[in-house]
Symmetry: T
């Protein structure tokens, strides 16, 4: 079983970007924790980050070929990208949406998600834990106990 | 460390209520799984269900006295109860909101939550796993690794 | 065949509450007329009134055990209660919504009903006759001619 | 005492029009049941169907001359016709609005009625029973017990 | 010079229709006053009333052949008819919109006019004087002093 | 009988202000035509123009003392002044609202009038004729034929 | 195979109606081109134009008896007629909606179509070609290659 | 003369609940000040607090029997309870609405009050003084100077 | 300690202006009662009324020099004046907003206040008592007991 | 004459993407049919697909150099891309918008098109035929018969 | 060449008004810097400040007589004054709108400007530099390099 | 000191793109003028143009490393890109937003900017001067006089 983790735009800045909102961990830190957990859960994991909507669309399209479940933090594209929504709907591979910050407690425009309704579920507000919980959710989804 | 789990209205019907939306597990089944996980995570857990907004408000008010973190599925009250929102804001004890179904994929009125923005975060759409992930989030919140 | 009649908040004040809107009959008067008609139609009837949303939710949840059809005037809760809506959706027993006044001719906020779309149908504006017609609709629903 | 029954556009197609929404009875079937009930209730009844808003306006204008109460299913015109609303408001003869399907459970645009607020009341969602209950409401209105 | 006066739906009921809103004059009374004024102003005048949107559309289409200016009270169609708007826009003959009652002081839905923006101007709220002023406006438009 | 004519802000620029919208007549030209017509109709007339909302409010407040009817073109204040609306509502003297241009054919924000619903009626779109018709309406209102 | 072409209100004015929007061809010109193309495509074709919503409803209701596919330009009724929408939904015969002008580039109110969502598809903005393409679409629909 | 003071949900937490918004006084402190003032004003006073909408509805219904005026801080129910609004409208006893914080300076959803329009008036933003002023308003209402 | 009382537009008409809404007392009556109460409370008081938004802005700007607290009934400007809002925000002197009528029970546009959120609090609906309570609130604000 | 066909994001998945919405043909199948038709119509044709908004913008900018008309299915970008709209507006080459599915019968957010109003026209809902009809429209546009 | 600088309401308070928003410079400081820059740019400059909408309207009307370009900070009137908008549209003299603070980052109601769309352009958010840049823009507009 | 100038999509077409809106200068012309002014102001300047949202995000992320202030015309992305907004918020380097045309005088959708509220300020409507003024604003920001 393999999990594809997709990070949207600006997440490569993590740690330096608005630390009061997003925390001080870097994306590498989070990926390391995810890798550790993946190893404990005995699943394979791959990371992908892009600031390009089109590249994310393309990567998602390939997911059916090479993974079983997607963990995606679409970041800004959550609120603006019908293309990513359509990609998620077009593939068979299920997706889980995660956010570091609690989008319900932020600007009005961050409270609508194009991708949430084509995902299995959403985890928002727990910082790095959002990703770790998302990985557990992914494993539970594909390998229900 | 103690976790208070609060179930909102109609969750006592779980298993017989719209199984295509909410799954076939009963609330007792879920509570059993939560107890098992709590034991593994070495935390204490208490369950509370009510169909009464006022009773939930009162129970939440008492939380500061007897627990460290709240796991709440406000169910219908998510979308209508400012009183529960105010109770969550009034206490010191942090709360985590969970939903069995993916509320982003349901009726328009279920897509606004009065309680989400005063919670730490939200987990929605994973069925019983929403609760189990929520318990892990609660533990991580109070006992960060 | 048994019909459960549920009256929402403030209907216990009937006869003294805004008689220009709701008429001068008391709830007892209406229940007497309903009992008489139920006897003529050879169905059993039970009445329940509460000012508590939670109590109405709980009573509706029990309906599957002890009645065949529900006649409900949710009164103020028509416009604010997702919990009652969810209870009606959760049970098998069909419900018929009635209103004494014509809600389409009143304040804007009274023109949206959370419960109407999960009911079989709605009868509004005929005073006590709304209940009597509702009882006939209930009987016709369960015992189609 | 005479009741005028007015059927709006496309109701002449009843039985073949979207049977999953409107049922399989024809308009003639319903009119037969209405005639039978009218006979039992000892009132006179007349039927009028038109696909033309203007013809319905004109027929309603004549109602003061030849009938005591109107039973109207404005169908599509419910949602679009200020002219029919104005005709109902202009005459002395009271009107009762009925709908076969539960308009609260259908498209958004079917949930606003121009005619409901100038009618005595509305009965919606009971199929042919909407008409039969409407006839009883009409009789009760003009000949209160 | 000839003026065509077009009366929309329900105006044939004038005098008996909601006299507190529309006054007690009949349409014949108003037409008589209009004829008298037309004679004084030395213009020809023709009256047309219909409850049918389609008939009004057709009559307006013919206006280019037989008249110089249109005085129209679209009544209910003011608020619902794009077809009459399109007819007014399609012809060369200018139109003046009049209303007996002050539509700005009535229901919200009466405050939007599809026809006003394709008319030269609007006169609303003066009872029969709306028509008489409209006739003067029509003459001034075609025969500017 | 005396008519007070009140011109709102920027009407003193008439003739030079956006002539494609407002025409090339000056305010003096229009007042001359109004004076001539007033003489023919044997009524007294007074003119008042101000760019100050407060001055117009004050002038309207004095109207009960010295005139019988008000002819007002509130211009920009039509769309923004609750104070002028309140002044019109506070006095006994009836008011008639006029506009040179057809406000229904202009910007969205010009299509709402705070003053129209507390006026007897509105005349809009006829250029100088709006005023002349308004004067006739004023006379007809106070001296009905 | 037979195609019914339905033209809505004011299309009989084509060629003289706002030629900058609708072009200078008459309806007869367009029908001639349609007939020529129908002949080439070896299908039968019938034309129907009406300014009456009710007549169009009635004609559409009959379509199941005498044709295989409908080509309809509802014109103004596109935006206002639930009755025509209901007629299209009530019959088995599929419909194709066409517009001469590009309704997306016109007034806001022309951008909502009641009929589009119950049609197979929509062709808008190509002048007479909208009809010719619509005829090809109709043939392709009934006789897929 | 007797005044009933009704405190809505979470007001029992006063002093510990969001002190930056609601101040550091407890409900007992405020009630003591109210009792002192009542004594000075020579009126009787009774206090009632509940977190249950239904209990507040029931207490308000009884008010006609045992008090002359109501001082109510509906707290969260201000914004969500049609049932309390209906109870206030159903009884003869007048009500005065008070709020500790200035609801106009808080979240958007706190700026609509279901209860304000059926109250005599509203006092908002003065902390404990809102209650004391409300008591004076109550006395002035029943015993106008 | 000195209180500045600012009355907005049309309040100079009090007593003659819509007495069913605003009562029959004149502004002088109210000011007399305020002066009497000020004397009892041992504070100085000054009155200012203007129909001009700009004059009120200027008077408020001067308040920091010569008074300790402002009692303002912005009347119509409540709903339209950002300039007065900005003046209140710009000065140090705190303001209390009062209204004679219950603005929550009036037209929709009167239910938004630009000034309320920059005031300490609002008192609305008690007639002259709104001012008297406001004066007490002002004193309590500056001289807390 | 040369036609440029531009396919937006996810159209490369055609045939496997939601076949109940988009059909089972692949993009290659459609391009083959388009090539065949282009050959019959004696026009040159070029295909371009991208999941990148920016690439589509750049390709459209080059269109003035190398083609006469554009056939574009912007897919998800229809609803979100002002950049593509601006590119279409910036170039001289006319564009025709096509959609496989009937966007009027899908989610609310798919019913607004940024690109439609800067295109010549739109063809939506006919599956592969949308493209073929679009090609005919393109040829008719550049080579009017 | 002469530039008229118009300051709207409350700008006379600059330096003491909300310094965290507007900075600590006084209006005199800004005018001194503007004068210095004007001298360097060899243009004449005049300053005008008023808290009165009407006075600003009047001053703008005179601008055609005595200046070449207007630099205006309408302050609060930006969001409420159609009269100032109309004055700007009525005169020939072009206007440039400036704001000290970034209105896009402030309250929702400050994000609509009545005056911006009748100005040449807008400069917002640079404190005193907004004015200085505005002066350069004014000079560049009238004396393009 | 170094200024990074970022041009959004389609700005590479400048000079040929809708010259009535954007003027006839090319981007190279504007960059030449900017370079000249930068030299006069003794600051370094770099230009970057892209049609790709993702590339602009990436370039902005690098800005903290190599420049002191950003001058950005996000063009179409102004209205649609949360990703660029987030990039601007994530970096320390301040940004100034400029637009060639006056976006307040254009389509409704161009009047909302995602980027404006995270920029220091906005300059819109002055053609090439918007850039030149923006450069001056940038210098003044980093090197306040």
């Amino acid at each position: 079983m393999k999990v594809l983790v997709v990070h949207g735009p600006n997440l490569n800045l993590l740690g330096q970007r608005e630390p009061e909102v997003y925390g001080s961990l870097t994306l590498a830190d989070i990926e390391q924790e995810l890798s550790d957990l993946a190893q404990r859960l005995e699943v394979s994991i791959e990371f992908y980050q892009s600031n390009h909507e089109g590249e994310i669309v393309t990567r998602l399209q390939e997911a059916d070929q090479d993974c079983d479940v997607i963990l995606i933090n679409p970041a800004a594209f959550t609120h603006t990208s019908v293309a990513i929504r359509d990609a998620l709907a077009a593939i068979q591979c299920p997706a889980i949406e995660v956010h570091l910050s609690n989008i319900h407690a932020r600007e009005e425009f961050r409270q609508h998600s194009y991708t949430a309704s084509v995902s299995v579920g959403v985890i928002t507000g727990f910082g790095k834990e959002s990703y770790l919980l998302g990985l557990r959710a992914a494993v539970a989804l594909v390998q229900p106990s």
